[in-house]
Structure formats: C-alpha cells, structure tokens
C-alpha cells in the first residue's frame, strides 16, 4: 500500500498522527511538502516591477531559506512518524502538485486547516479544498487539533 501524507505548516502533526494510527505497518509512506511558488515569486519578482529602479534580486537567498525550512519540516515529520518514509520536497502550485503526486498512491492523508471550532467547509482553505475536489485516490481527512501525539 502506497500512502502519501501531505505535510503542511501548522497542521502536519495531525496528518502524521493519523498516518501512524491508520496506516498499516508495511505501507510505503511518502511525506510531501510543497513550497508555494506564487508567494515566492511575488516576494522575489515584485522589485523588478518598480519601473527604472532597484535592479537587485533576492531570489536565491529566499529560495534557499524556504528549501532549508521545508527539509527541516519533513525531517521532523519523519521523526514523529517513527516509520521509514520517503521525503518529497517540491515547489509550485501547491494544490496541483499534491494532486499530481497522489496519482500513484492508494491513500492521501490530509489535515484540515482548522480545529473543531470551525466545523464545515470553512475548515478547509482554498488549497485543501482543491486537493479534496481533485484527489484521484481515497482521502483520509483529519481535524488538525489531533496534533499533540508527541
């Protein structure tokens, strides 16, 4: 069984806890994190839109910070999982990348953006909503308050 766990800042512990609880021990688990390319592009490219001034770019520095934090996040997630897992750090349109990565899996684990205080569709942001709407495989959707398993 191939399982994809979507690792998101703030809610990843709930997703990892759910994987721990429901996924069989012999499953092949992949932990996936996607850096939103759009925000990075706005931070890096916007200075170039200032007509005639500021020709500097901070692209490399920002990309390296984002990549470093993402790999730390994935490493922590694997440590909490306590199970062998493949780490997959991507960048791009988050929703589309997650859906694409889920093509080859049997189960996708997703944590909602909010806890029980916000039941209903508003517990999902745009990106999580997109992933649910387009997921090619069964999805295990958990509340994010199940976080404290560590």
């Amino acid at each position: 069984m191939r399982v994809l766990v979507w690792i998101v800042e703030g809610t990843w512990m709930a997703a990892v806890a759910a994987a721990k609880q429901f996924v069989p021990a012999d499953a092949q688990i992949t932990l996936l994190h996607v850096i939103p390319a759009e925000a990075q592009a706005v931070a890096c490219e916007a200075p170039q839109a200032l007509l005639g001034r500021w020709h500097t770019r901070s692209t490399e520095a920002l990309q390296s910070i984002a990549a470093q934090i993402a790999s730390g996040l994935l490493a922590d997630a694997r440590a909490v999982l306590g199970h062998d897992a493949t780490l997959n750090a991507l960048g791009g349109r988050v929703g589309e990348e997650v859906v694409a990565a889920a093509q080859k899996t049997d189960l996708l684990v997703v944590a909602r953006d909010c806890d029980h205080a916000r039941e209903g569709p508003h517990s999902l942001g745009h990106t999580a909503r997109y992933v649910l709407d387009h997921a090619p495989c069964p999805v295990l959707l958990v509340w994010s308050e199940q976080a404290d398993v560590t």
Binding site: E9, E38, Q40, A43, L62, A66
Partner: protein
C-alpha cells in the same frame, strides 16, 4: 512639425522607453533609452527647447527631494531596520497567524507611508517572507499583504510613493494638508485589504501554530528611527516654519549618511548606489517625453476622457480612469500625464487621480498590469510562475478599495468645505 506627427512620435517614444525599462536589455539601460528618446524628440521638434527646459525645471525639485528620500531609505537598510522589524514581528506575533498578519499590516503600512513603497517592496517583503517561513508558517498571506499594502498605504504622505511626489507640486497643497486629506481614504483602503485578505485566507489563518524559538534580542536602530521621525515632523510643519521640504529631506539624509561615512560603515560608492542616479535620470527623461506627448494633444485627450467636478461620482470616475491608465502604461508615466492635466481642476481632482494610480497597480504587482505582461512577453525567461491566486486577490480588492477611498476622499473634502 504638425501636432499630430509630434503626438505620434512622442507616444512611440514613450512606448519604446517603457519597453526598455520593462525588458531591461543588458546593452541599454532605461536611463539611456529615456535620454536618447528625449533627445530625438527635441531634435525632430516634437518638443521645444523652452518646453524641455521648463519640464526639467519643474521636475528638478521633485527629483532632488526623491534623491534625499532614497538616501534615507538606504540608510534604514544599512542600519538593519528591516531585519530588526522582522524579528520584532516574529516575537510579537505570539504564535497567532492572525496577529502576525495584523503586525505585517502595521509594519508594511508604516514603512510604506513613512519611508516609501520601494522600501516595502524591496526590503521589507523579503524579510517578511524569510521571517514567516522560519516560523514554519505559510508565507502566502503575509507576502501578498506586504505587496498590496505597498500600494494601498502609499496614499498617505507625499513621500510614500513617487506618484505622490510627482503630483504633489501640481496639487498646490502643503505636506500636512495633503496628508490630512489622504488619511481617511488610506485607512479605508487598508480596512478593505484586511477584510478581503482575512476572508480569502480565513481557514489558513486559523491553523494551529507549532512553537518555534525566536531570538529575543530585537535591536531596533534607535538613532535611525529618531532621524526618520524628526524628518517626518519636519515635513509636517514645513509650511508653518517656512522651510522648503527639500532642505528638511536633505538634513534627514545627511544625518543618516554622514555619520555612516565617517564611521566607514559605507563608502561614497555605496552612497552613490543608494542614490540610484540611473533612476533619477530616467525620471527626467520620462518627464520630457511625457511633456512632449501632453503638449501635442495627450493632455487634452485625457481631460476630455476624465469627468469634471468634485461630486462623489466624478471623483470615483477620475480614480477609475486613472487606475486603468496606470495599468495600461505603468503608474509613473500615468501620473506625469494626469497631474498637469488635472491641476487646473483643483487639488481634489489630483488626489482622486492618485487614488487610481496608487491603488490600481494592486491588480498585479506594483506598477501596472502592463509591466507584468510586458516583462513576461519581452523577457520570456523560461518557466514563469502562474500568478492566478495573486491576480484573483487583486481583482477582489481593487474595485472595493477605489470605491471606499473615493467615498472617503469626497466626505473629507465636503467636511473641509
């Protein structure tokens, strides 16, 4: 040369200059392009020598003022103000995404209004991205907030945006009067941004936070902040004490620059880079090109298109047309075209145009839709990032922000009357 031919030549010159400024070919700096085009217009008689001299004379105090402001912004960067603000933001956010967004709003609006839009875009936004990423939070809402507020909060003071600087003299207002009239519209636009962004990212902003250790040492450069504060007070009381704004700006710039030079924290070369001489020359060149176009019929055409009067609907009309123009040709040339055309109609009309040229660019990044599209077409730099979400957010905020700010500007001027 006939007026029609002059207009065609000036418009072609304007398009060429903007194209060079957007595409940035390595072999031709935009300042050189602007100067060459201006010289060609002069040689062909599309603009007279006397008019060129007048345009340069009109622009000179503004450019001098701008140069001093660039030095102040560069001084703030050199003293580490923006990194310190990043740490402050991380510490004060107390693990709450919403609270962090509120802090980003306050800091981005403050930096934009008091230092400039450029500083928010170039210096603060990367710091916000890095800070939020290190806090293990999704950077998207915060980065978008910074970029949007760089435009929205730049309504407040004449120094907040180069467009304001260019229109300020045409408006005939004092620094304090300008700021007073723009205060409510600015707050209104910031409120619109807050409502739209917090709704748009409603679920994401309610995500739980994990604890991430933050450095508890915030070293705000106090002397730098004091100089910026005193300079701002100087601007506000300049008309009362009868001192030209240029001298106050020069004093502020010197207070930040000279000690750094003496202590060898920077070099003359570094100062010169901070001054961005290429950009100053570019604005001079652009001023002459736009003067040529305006005189040969563009200003008359703009006046014909723009509504007249000071009622709410007229102000909204002026703001909307200005927003469209800013997105067609970028907000700098748009302001150079609009300010002199609107000045005879009074300062309220000029301020309404500023609402448009400052808020309008939020449809994309700073500048204009055209800048974004042109840059992408002209550079064709391989895989460009799709900006669907960011553009959708722009479409959600700009019409509401124009409506609210025009209504508030109208209310403020009615109250004043």
């Amino acid at each position: 040369m006939t007026v029609h031919l002059s207009l065609v030549l000036a418009l072609v010159g304007l398009v060429v200059t903007l194209a060079v400024a957007v595409a940035r070919p390595t072999w031709l700096p935009e300042s050189a392009a602007a100067v060459i085009v201006a010289a060609v217009l002069l040689a062909f008689g599309a603009v007279s020598v006397a008019r060129t001299r007048q345009a340069l004379g009109d622009l000179a105090p503004t450019i001098g003022f701008l140069a001093a402001l660039l030095l102040i912004g560069d001084g703030c960067r050199r003293e580490g103000l923006f990194d310190a603000l990043g740490t402050l933001m991380a510490r004060r956010s107390k693990d709450s995404p919403r609270r962090l967004l509120a802090l980003v709003f306050i800091l981005a609006a403050g930096v934009t209004a008091v230092i400039s839009l450029d500083s928010t875009i170039v210096l603060l936004t990367p710091v916000v991205f890095a800070t939020v990423t290190r806090l293990r939070m999704m950077a998207t809402p915060y980065v978008y907030a910074c970029d949007h507020l760089a435009n929205s909060a730049s309504l407040l003071l004449p120094i907040s945006n180069l467009t304001n600087l260019l229109a300020f003299r045409a408006s005939g207002l004092t620094f304090a009067h300008f700021s007073l009239l723009m205060a409510l519209p600015t707050l209104g636009v910031i409120a619109v941004e807050w409502v739209v962004l917090t709704r748009f990212f409603g679920a994401e902003l309610r995500r739980p936070r994990e604890y991430v250790a933050v450095s508890d040492q915030v070293k705000l450069p106090r002397f730098t902040l004091a100089v910026v504060g005193v300079t701002l007070i100087g601007f506000l009381v300049s008309s009362l004490i009868g001192v030209d704004l240029l001298w106050i700006a020069a004093a502020g710039a010197s207070a930040l620059t000279l000690p750094a030079l003496v202590r060898r924290k920077t070099t003359l070369r570094g100062i010169l880079q901070g001054l961005q001489p290429g950009f100053l020359i570019f604005v001079f060149g652009l001023g002459i090109i736009v003067a040529a176009a305006s005189d040969s019929g563009l200003a008359a055409a703009v006046r014909a298109v723009l509504p007249h009067g000071e009622s709410f609907i007229y102000l909204l009309g002026i703001a909307s047309v200005s927003a469209v123009l800013a997105n067609l040709v970028n907000n700098l040339p748009a302001t150079l075209i609009l300010a002199p055309a609107l000045a005879p109609a009074g300062h309220v009309a000029v301020l309404a145009a500023l609402l448009g040229v400052n808020i309008g660019p939020n449809l994309t990044y700073v500048g204009s839709l055209a800048t974004l599209l042109w840059r992408r077409i002209l550079r064709a730099e391989g895989t460009e990032v799709d900006l669907g979400e960011f553009l959708r957010l722009g479409a959600l905020t700009v019409p509401a922000a124009l409506l609210v700010s025009a209504a508030l500007l109208w209310a403020v001027t009615r109250l004043g009357a």
